[in-house]
Symmetry: C2
Subunit: 405 residues, 2 copies
């Protein structure tokens, strides 16, 4: 059985790395803090007797041998965070995996299949787009060569960021072929808390579309340039942002739309902006509706640019279709929650997860635990230890089943 | 008479300081480039035999003695630029002043009143708000103590920026009391070019209102947070920006509205912005209409914040009422343009100018020359040498009149 104290202690220890003054954590992918986090988790893996492998993009997994050789039952998630992150997003799935291993070790348990735990590089996509990059590369959804050239928000290329903290190993793409994949994660939304449930039985992940839009106008004097003669890139960007909100309103839930990044230049009070660079994050569980949102947004954006006398270009930063998890494995998660007497419901995931990269290649599923106030990507992210214990126990139960304890 | 070659040579020489790779100039107020520019202009002042005074906020003027003591006829402008500035904005007025002095020297002319030329600190307001800061302080419109504490866009306080380049002198506020003030400047707008005129006889300056608005929401996950539960500071800012455009459209010319600065944080693709900081620059020749624009914008901004679940605050960065120049001096400018056979018209200024700070205290007026394509605050700012010659000649003619040659 899960030892919740041990798991909480690891969560708190890892959260010290990149801790923010006001609470929360900043451990951007392949930053010095990420390097320190990786070293700590690898030390724990070694202490638990796991055999560690690291691949070319810095994904790292530790295997506990089974009675038989063959593909492991894999538990995984990530330890990178956004710039204003909490303690649980990602870290929970990895450290609960270690706790499952430690519980198995403590019980001297022998599983038929190997059991493994992994953390994947740059799941958040906060520094390098797209998100789920490490798992995406490992599972063949994203081309390694292209990813190595991606430039981070700080202008550093992924290739150089990997080298800077010596994160890459020798294992090639395709080295990680699990028997099945399970990921425990905080919900990061309000559903479980609102319905007073302990476990989310995740049925799939909604489609994700990230687009960077660049509007190019002309800088001009704010006092002397008549409105009709302006090429105001910032004004065009503002209209695109409002349109994104309107699309979400018109489509209704589960459509979401977010303009997370927006920069204007030269960014001076009395100069009409000559350039605006923004990102639009659109998500929906239905691929056709997501495409509709993308099309409408881009048409409107082009219109606004035309009427605003600006040029406009776009670049896809991430595009993942909606994913359905393995029905049998989802059933197993549900049954385990039920058996433990934990209130549960089926639900899609609003966030992207490494699990979605494994789904096309092996039976995959996820377990959600509640997020207080539905808050995540925020320093106030919080999940009660009792909820964490429930989720980790369900993870352990399903892993034992899959690994044939 | 004006020697246009000499004037152009000085313009080009000064433009080398802070020259941008693609053309244009970046010589932000009190930057190292500004320091170099100041040193060069002061050297030229000395070479022309002027007696130099610098005041506590770094305004600098050089006086050519007259037959009688007493307040000088002052020509002035500024040598700071915006971050993407051109060669003429400000520098023209200062260097044309030097050319007038040099022409007087060359002719061995003796004027009854002293004649002086000045450059004022931080006219642009691009690094420190408000704009026209140096002339505003010198003429008692802005309090020195408050201005010294103003923080620049780079976080440096004006007091420290002055010290960093040793720009401040000993002359106190109020030391500069001219007999009359004249400023030659590029129009920075399209009117003269469109009407194929050489001289703008400036009747006054429109009112300027700069407000910084801060919207505070809550960062949240872009995938999991339903639209209804968001506190999206960026979305609120976008609506405010669109409203500013709408106000300008509804009021019609000469109303202008510009959102020049806009920053969201944490500025990540999959995080709902928790804060947005923006500036709104509103201008109108009519004070009542300008107030109407301010009131409507702030009401709407508060509404958007309320419906968007965000807090909102504002801070005035600059507020100057419309200014009328001295009718007799304006007549003199018009008469001089006419006498030189230069096509001219009366017009208000869309941009703020140091002249407006002198207007309440002494007869003041301005002379505009055409801006190609009406472009300014842009590296492609351009005025033909023949137009510059015309403007400088009119400046000289009026100065000789005022100084009683
Ligand atoms: N789980 C999670 O926060 N993933 C980051 C990718 C995203 O959904 O934006
Ligand atoms: N002339 C000029 O560009 N002044 C800067 C102040 C402003 O009008 O924004």
């Amino acid at each position: 059985a899960i030892d919740i104290e041990r798991l909480m202690a690891r969560l708190e220890r890892l959260a010290q790395i990149g801790a923010l003054p006001g609470g929360g954590v900043k451990r951007l992918a392949l930053s010095p803090e990420d390097a320190e986090g990786r070293a700590l988790v690898m030390r724990w893996m070694r202490e638990l007797g796991l055999e560690i492998t690291t691949d070319v993009i810095g994904n790292c997994w530790g295997i506990r041998v089974g009675e038989e050789d063959g593909p492991p039952v894999l538990m995984g998630s990530h330890i990178d965070t956004v710039a204003t992150g909490g303690l649980y997003d990602g870290s929970l799935g990895v450290l609960a995996g270690l706790e499952v291993i430690e519980a198995l070790n403590a019980a001297g348990a022998r599983t038929r299949r190997p059991v493994a735990v992994a953390f994947f590089t740059n799941e958040e996509g906060a520094r390098f787009a797209p998100d789920m990059m490490g798992s995406g590369v490992a599972q063949g959804a994203l081309p390694l060569d292209e990813m190595l050239e991606v430039e981070g928000i700080d202008g550093v290329r992924l290739r150089d960021a990997l080298a800077a903290i010596d994160a890459a190993g020798r294992a090639p793409v395709g080295a990680l072929k699990p028997h099945s994949y399970l990921e425990l994660h905080i919900e990061q939304g309000p559903v479980l808390e609102t319905e007073e449930l302990q476990i989310g039985v995740v049925t799939g992940v909604q489609g994700i579309s990230w687009t960077e839009i660049t509007v190019t106008g002309a800088s001009a004097h704010a006092g002397t340039t008549p409105m009709a003669l302006r090429h105001d890139a910032g004004a065009v960007a503002a209209r695109i942002s409002v349109e994104a909100q309107q699309i979400a309103a018109d489509h209704g839930p589960p459509q979401v739309a977010t303009v997370g990044r927006l920069r204007v230049s030269p960014d001076l009070v009395n100069v009409v902006p000559q350039e605006a660079v923004m990102t639009v994050d659109l998500r929906h569980t239905d691929e056709a509706t997501l495409q509709k949102a993308e099309t409408r947004l881009w048409r409107a954006a082009q219109d606004f640019a035309r009427t605003g006398g600006c040029a406009i270009t776009r670049r896809t930063l991430a595009r993942f279709e909606p994913v359905e998890f393995d029905p049998a494995l989802v059933d197993s998660v549900e049954a385990a929650a039920h058996a433990r007497g934990l209130g549960h419901r089926r639900m899609p995931s609003g966030a992207g997860h490494d699990a979605q990269m494994f789904a096309p290649n092996c039976p995959s599923a996820m377990i959600f635990v509640p997020s207080q106030d539905g808050v995540s990507h925020n320093i106030h992210e919080y999940t009660a230890p009792s909820d964490i214990a429930g989720g980790a126990q369900v993870l352990m139960d399903v892993v034992c089943q899959q690994a044939e304890l």
